[in-house]
């Protein structure tokens, strides 16, 4: 039989990967829109995106749980579509993680997008590049570092999630028991040896991820500084 901690590790990595990929798809246009818009909706959407940073995860989890309930319109639609409720499933965890990690993906990317000078986009437009062409061939390469930082933070943040998972995912082995929950279990059952291994592993992992983020950030600042100077 496979070590249940390894299964937890696999679930955690799968959750973080799926969440990051989905954020890449929906978070990128959102960050772009927030970076460029003067629309009044931007002023409201920006704090909404940032809410998970300050809210206790249990608050987000509580509302998600209510949303997932088959009594709510969304929950009922999900049940009729898939045959089972969303709470205490891996899909439920993905949805929760997307919401909870959204600011960690959107904010660094938005900052990167804001640093792209309008003149470059105007120049590209007059050279015949349409909106998508401009995004993929000017904005994306110029914001390469911003993408790496945003994706790394979203991934790491999803790995470290606890409160929401507990509220909406429970603690189902092989399904929703992620590392942070497993660690909690080990402490509760006084398996300190295992808890130590897991905690130290998460610590080292987080340190190296942040090391990457800050190194990239520093290099990126230096580059833009040089560009502004020249």
């Amino acid at each position: 039989m496979i070590d249940p901690d390894l299964i937890s590790l696999a679930i955690t990595l799968k959750l973080a990967t799926v969440t990051t990929v989905i954020l890449l798809i929906i978070g990128t246009p959102l960050a772009w829109w927030l970076a460029r818009t003067n629309h009044v909706a931007g002023f409201i959407l920006e704090p909404i995106v940032a809410l998970p940073i300050v809210l206790p995860p249990t608050v987000v989890g509580f509302y998600l749980l209510i949303l997932f309930s088959p009594d709510s319109a969304f929950g009922a639609a999900w049940v009729s579509l898939t045959g089972h409720p969303l709470a205490f499933t891996f899909e439920g965890l993905v949805l929760g993680s997307i919401i909870y990690s959204l600011p960690f993906y959107v904010q660094p990317l938005q900052v990167a997008f804001e640093s792209v000078r309008q003149d470059l986009l105007d120049a590209a437009a007059t050279l015949g590049a349409g909106p998508l062409d401009r995004f993929f061939n000017i904005v994306a390469p110029l914001c390469r570092t911003g993408f790496v930082v945003a994706a790394t933070l979203a991934f790491a943040h999803t790995v470290g999630e606890f409160g929401i998972v507990l509220m909406i995912g429970g603690n189902i082995p092989d399904e929703t028991r992620v590392l942070s929950i497993a660690l909690f279990d080990h402490v509760e059952t006084l398996q300190y040896q295992r808890a130590h291994l897991m905690a130290a592993g998460l610590l080292v992992f987080s340190f190296f991820l942040l090391l990457i983020v800050y190194t990239l950030n520093r290099r990126w600042k230096k580059q833009t500084h040089m560009r502004v100077k020249s």
Partner: protein
């Protein structure tokens, strides 16, 4: 292709741009005026980089295409224009070559652009493998112009293209621009607040002031307009047309024909019968009522006094004419009194310095 723009636009700051302009089908149409006169906004409207707000009346027409009228709006990427910005418009993640390829891949019109010709005009070969942050300001602007040309633009719009370049590099890049002016058969619009640049390059001139067209006309006419010139102060200068008639290698001078009179200037790089522009600063023109003898000044022209500037200062501008071309002279009020100058009188203009505008590019 002939472009016309009719704009009535109100900014939230209260600034109103209310102009009607037509762009020459070939040659350079210049928009000249102080900052805040609306010239850059007008250019960006023509390009489609700005479109105004609801309530603004903007109509931009190019040949038989309507680019903007009412709610119809053609995006800038579909207008087939080239735009040269003041600075920092090259894509920093690409090399010079990469920037040029970006433009070639997205050519507006599939014309047979002679790439090597453009590289030669703008002297690009030494720059191709460089990174963007290794270029000087002048080099970057040359690459930006090449990028626009390789893109197959049907019309070129330039917004203060020399505005962020130091004065010395500016005089080095002006001949490149002039070379484009003489070789390209497309409309070009040049926005600047420097009359030096305008007098070097423009064929037709719109003077903008506080959002309105203050004056318009061919450069030769406007450069001698007393009212406009008095606003230039010490830098007032006229531009005249001459043809090269003779080279004199012994003295390193060439003889130009100006309305039947001779002007001597260094023009060795030109062919006989080439048409050239000569810029004559008003402060370098003095006046005598009889033909000066034994003077070191070579260029002495018989001209007619047209009008005198009404100015309270110690010096004033005098407008002079020879056939259909005009000159300005700046003299002191005291000299005016001594010589007793009146409109209609014939006098001799002595020209101390003559600058040939279309100097050939030093390759």
């Amino acid at each position: 292709m002939e472009i016309s723009a009719s704009v009535h636009l109100t900014r939230s700051s209260g600034f109103i741009l209310d102009v009607d302009i037509n762009i020459l089908p070939t040659g350079i149409t210049a928009l000249y005026g102080p900052s805040g006169s609306g010239k850059s906004t007008l250019l960006r409207l023509i390009a489609g980089l700005e479109r105004g707000d609801r309530g603004d009346r903007i109509r931009i027409v190019s040949g038989n295409e309507v680019w903007q009228d009412g709610s119809s709006f053609t995006a800038p990427e579909h207008r087939g224009i080239g735009f040269v910005f003041q600075q920092q418009q090259l894509f920093p993640h690409l090399t010079v070559q990469g920037n040029l390829q970006f433009a070639m891949k997205r050519q507006h019109v599939q014309n047979n652009i002679d790439t090597s010709q453009i590289y030669e005009w703008l002297n690009l070969h030494p720059l191709l493998s460089k990174k963007i942050d290794q270029l000087s300001g002048g080099e970057a602007q040359r690459v930006a112009m090449a990028r626009v040309l390789l893109n197959g633009a049907r019309c070129i719009l330039m917004d203060e293209p020399l505005g962020s370049i130091d004065v010395r590099s500016r005089s080095r890049i002006l001949p490149y621009l002039d070379r484009l002016r003489r070789n390209l058969k497309i409309p070009m619009v040049y926005v600047s607040h420097s009359f030096d640049e305008i007098s070097y390059l423009a064929d037709y001139l719109y003077v903008l002031k506080e959002g309105k067209v203050h004056a318009k006309g061919p450069l030769m006419e406007l450069s001698s307009d007393l009212e406009l010139a008095s606003g230039q102060g010490e830098s007032a200068a006229t531009v005249i047309h001459c043809t090269v008639s003779k080279h004199d290698p012994e003295f390193g001078l060439s003889e130009l024909n100006f309305e039947g009179a001779k002007i001597f200037v260094n023009a060795e790089n030109f062919q006989i019968n080439d048409s050239v522009r000569v810029r004559i600063p008003a402060r370098d023109v003095s006046i005598a009522t009889t033909r000066p003898e034994n003077s070191s000044i070579l260029n002495i022209l018989r001209v007619e006094v047209v009008s005198l500037e009404e100015s309270p200062g110690p010096s004033l501008l005098i407008k002079l004419c020879r056939n259909n071309q005009f000159l300005l002279a700046r003299i002191t009020r005291k000299s005016l009194r001594m010589l007793g100058l009146e409109p209609g009188q014939f006098v001799y203009a002595q020209i101390k310095s003559v600058a040939l505008l279309n100097e050939n590019v030093a390759d």
